[in-house]
């Protein structure tokens, strides 16, 4: 198998799996129960949360465990107190989950991006109004891997906050960053980035799926979506998913430890794959030439149908994807790829290759050859 879709899902690491295993059966207790073994589980659970939060320079008590990034994003949007239809600004390259939440505010604004998918700061500055309450920008676009200038965005927000303070305007303004892509490859610290809300998830960093978190700064007032027993500081009720959180913590710890070396390794592999694929001049590389996650290699072969390529490649056990192909089948164009100015033909021919632990130099060379062969065969077929 040649797996080039690490941005979609990653296998649970041995360490994470081993860490979480005892909490399914042996230490199954409900962390809210009063007896000692349950209290022990509670302590371990809290410690795991602290561990996760500390990787981002935060505290466990500011971390709300959710069922994944989608729920975290939904929860982040509850920070908006106003019903103003224009209270929200998002970038043009956000995940569908962010777009769907923004649509709850019919006149939400979209921040323009350049040809690489990076937001244009001047456009953001011009779009912040006294009514803006939430700006949601991803750490890196899930289709392009382009990194966003989060701390510069935070600076703009600080300026606006200052202005409101002086004007006696108590309307809050927050920055939410969806870091679903990038954990384990970018050193993310909430204070350095200047974010007020941070979405992270476990399923893309070799932890279990169905678990994620939202970190929030103290001043951000959130409203729970799931109410009940009052777990997670009253912001997300329901018995804690102890094994998943333990697995999440173990995965993030491991990712953190290997961050520098894995970054270097993946960048080298990605550049190798890029060089190999450059042998076919019809392949265009997408995303930012410098500010891009080191494991991302989005490409476009104008004139080809990416979904056919996916089905061809799967016959060789090469697994790649693109959000764009799936959207295209359903008759909609990828908003992110449209936003960077790609034509329909370029979008239809776009694939997202994302590298990770399952790749090494040998397999990258092999897979590059398969991809090149499949592309040439398709190009021959439609000639």
């Amino acid at each position: 198998m040649f797996y080039l879709d690490h941005a979609a899902a990653t296998p649970v690491s041995d360490k994470a799996l081993a860490a979480m295993t005892p909490y399914f059966a042996a230490d199954f207790f409900n962390p809210s129960a009063p007896y000692l073994p349950a209290v022990e589980v509670r302590k371990i659970y809290e410690a795991a949360k602290d561990d996760i939060a500390s990787r981002f320079g935060g505290k466990g008590t500011d971390l709300i465990i959710t069922a994944g990034a989608t729920e975290s994003i939904n929860l982040a949007f509850t920070a908006v107190t106003s019903t103003d239809s224009n209270a929200v600004l998002i970038s043009a390259v956000e995940h569908p989950s962010v777009i769907a939440n923004a649509k709850k505010f019919p006149k939400f604004g979209t921040i323009k991006v350049d040809q690489y998918g990076q937001i244009i700061l001047s456009d953001l500055a011009a779009k912040i109004t006294p009514r803006t309450q939430l700006i949601s920008v991803c750490l890196a676009s899930s289709e392009l891997g382009t990194l966003q200038p989060i701390s510069e965005i935070a600076q703009l927000i600080r300026t606006e906050r200052q202005r409101r303070l002086q004007a006696g305007d108590k309307t809050p303004i927050y920055l939410h960053c969806d870091a679903s892509q990038g954990v384990g490859l970018v050193d993310i610290k909430v204070s350095r980035l200047g974010v007020d809300l941070l979405t992270i998830n476990s399923g893309k960093i070799y932890g279990p799926k169905g678990i994620g978190a939202l970190w929030h700064a103290h001043q951000v007032k959130l409203r729970p979506i799931v109410v009940g027993g009052g777990q997670e500081m009253g912001l997300r009720s329901g018995t804690e998913n102890v094994p998943a959180v333990i697995g999440f913590a173990a995965a993030i710890k491991e990712a953190d430890r290997h961050l520098a070396s894995e970054r270097k390794r993946l960048q080298k592999l990605r550049d190798l794959l890029r060089r190999e694929l450059s042998n076919n001049p019809s392949i265009k590389f997408l995303g930012h030439p410098k500010c891009q996650l080191v494991n991302f290699l989005p490409i476009s072969i104008p004139g080809l149908d990416a979904e056919r390529l996916i089905f061809k490649l799967e016959q060789h056990e090469v697994y790649v994807s693109t959000g764009a192909a799936c959207a295209a089948r359903k008759g909609v164009k990828s908003p992110a790829l449209s936003a960077i100015g790609l034509s329909t033909e370029q979008i239809t021919g776009s694939l997202r290759l994302t590298l990770g632990k399952l790749n090494d130099e040998k397999t990258i060379k092999q897979v590059a050859k398969i991809i090149l062969d499949v592309i040439v065969a398709e190009q021959e077929r439609i000639k």
Partner: protein, 346 residues
């Protein structure tokens, strides 16, 4: 020769593609997108089916197209189906879909786009002129095809019509088609027989009514809408009486369902059916010695057809001749020629 093949993402049309390819046709796989809406309790699998069809087409290196017929399907098939149910009939949407969508709209569009012929994965055969029963008697689908136009039939290939279903499956497995082990969709393609009730409820408001015993007039219980019930139906009555009851009569105006315990009730059995919308295929004459089918897979029953009165008379009593369903005529050697048929009006 350029052939446009309707591909549903199932085993039959996938194997059909390989057979056409083997016969050196220039094949274009076509997915007809007729319906995409999920309904309560029913996830419409169109996106997965489309992906499967495209996956097979890609594997075989054939051209692939998607035809979006949702608007027309809604008008020609769904609206017809709902109108028939409202009249108290039990329509057959598959027959309508073949007549109006697959062998009309798809046929016309395919020819417009340069096809010489069309093909489908139906179990039926043709000699270029006659519509013939499939080699696999258990899978024969001519019941659903009797109304397709003669022009379309003249330019249609049924690549698997001469095969047994079991052989189609074996071939799919041998060729390692990714859909070889995909379960078959049954009945109304998008909801299946089990979902028809939910489907109707989405579009038509229904009212509860009485269930009465035919013989005594006694109220036995209540139903959630006469529209949901079909003549001869035994299940889904939720009567708390021991022995099974059968639906024998529907009064749509009063919204009353009449049931009987008597399987021999005269309402349930009949030797005659009056037809409407009779369609006799080109070049066919209806002979004296006729065999007919009153539903898909029903045994071929001896009968006569009076063209003047549009009436079918059976040699033997038939159970639940259901208004809205079709009676399809067969004749010739082994009764293999499908002559046409009509829709039961009463």
């Amino acid at each position: 020769m350029k052939v446009f093949l309707g591909m549903s993402g199932g085993v039959d049309s996938s194997v059909a593609a390989t057979l056409l390819q083997k016969d050196s046709y220039d094949v274009t796989g076509c997915y007809m997108k007729n319906w995409s809406r999920d309904l309560p309790g029913m996830k419409c699998p169109w996106a997965e089916d489309l992906a499967d069809a495209k996956r097979v087409a890609t594997m075989l290196d054939i051209e692939f197209k998607v035809f979006d017929f949702e608007t027309q399907y809604r008008q020609k098939v769904v609206d017809y189906m709902l109108a028939e149910y409202q009249k108290g009939n039990t329509p057959n949407p598959d027959i309508m879909c073949n007549e109006q969508i697959k062998f009309k709209l798809f046929f016309d569009t395919a020819l417009e786009q340069g096809a010489d012929l069309i093909a489908t994965g139906h179990y039926a055969r043709t000699d270029g002129q006659n519509l013939l029963r499939a080699a696999d008697d258990n899978k024969d689908q001519t019941y659903f095809l009797y109304r397709i136009s003669d022009q379309a039939l003249a330019k249609t290939i049924f690549p698997i019509g001469g095969m047994q279903k079991s052989d189609v499956k074996k071939l799919a497995a041998k060729l390692k088609l990714p859909v070889a082990h995909k379960p078959e969709s049954m009945g109304v393609c998008f909801v299946g027989e089990a979902g028809i009730r939910e489907f109707i409820s989405e579009f038509i408001e229904t009212k509860p009514g009485e269930i009465r015993e035919l013989e005594t007039g006694q109220i036995l219980g209540s139903h959630d809408g006469a529209i949901f019930y079909t003549l001869g139906q035994r299940h889904g009555l939720y009567l708390t009486t021991g022995l099974p009851y059968y639906v024998v009569k529907k009064d749509m105006k009063q919204n009353i369902i009449y049931v009987s315990r008597d399987l021999n009730n005269s309402h349930l059995w009949s030797k005659q059916a009056k037809l409407t919308d009779v369609f006799i295929r080109a070049g066919q004459t209806v002979p004296k010695n006729l065999r007919v089918r009153i539903r898909h897979r029903a045994p071929l029953a001896p009968a006569t057809f009076n063209a003047k009165t549009q009436t079918v008379t059976f040699t033997e009593l038939q159970k639940s001749l259901t208004p809205g369903q079709s009676i399809v005529f067969y004749a010739g050697k082994n009764h293999e020629i499908c002559l046409g048929g009509g829709i039961i009006s009463q």
